[in-house]
Assembly symmetry: C2
Homo-oligomer: 93 residues x 2
């Protein structure tokens, strides 16, 4: 059973790291939501429309360029499509 | 036009921070994908099934508990539903 024990221990180690990553992801998603809410509040005074497809296009270009490709681009884009939609729908406090 | 200029400058500042956050998010998502791929490869030797709903349930509990709520919980869960699905579908290198 040594191989099985080793595999279980290795899985547990990776899961501990995933939990740490999730803590960091959640903190960053909350900070990103705060920035989005601030921008949404400023847009009327700036004379900007709430939806800015050019900005979204630049976001997708940036994330594709800075990804190392471990997560395939289609998957990364799917996550960001959900993320950007959710940020727009996020109610103000 | 001072109010408009101020609002545009403030929006630009928030967008610079969002770009920094996106760089960090993409790096963490790639690292998380690498952990997921490693776990997937180890599961047969560990005698574990590939899909583990109890683990997913614990992930949702953890992210809800550590979120400060700026991003509403439903939105956070939607992002994680996409994230977990995409991690499972991610092809091995």
């Amino acid at each position: 059973m040594t191989e099985q024990t080793d595999a279980l221990a290795a899985i547990e180690k990776h899961r501990v790291r995933i939990d740490e990553i999730d803590d960091e992801l959640v903190a960053l998603l909350n900070e990103r939501a705060a920035c989005s809410l601030a921008i949404r509040a400023l847009k009327p005074a700036a004379g900007m429309t709430l939806y800015d497809p050019a900005r979204e296009g630049r976001i997708f270009e940036r994330i594709t360029a800075c990804s190392d490709g471990t997560l395939y681009d289609e998957g990364l884009h799917e996550i960001y499509e959900t993320l950007l939609r959710v940020m727009k729908e996020n109610p103000t406090a």
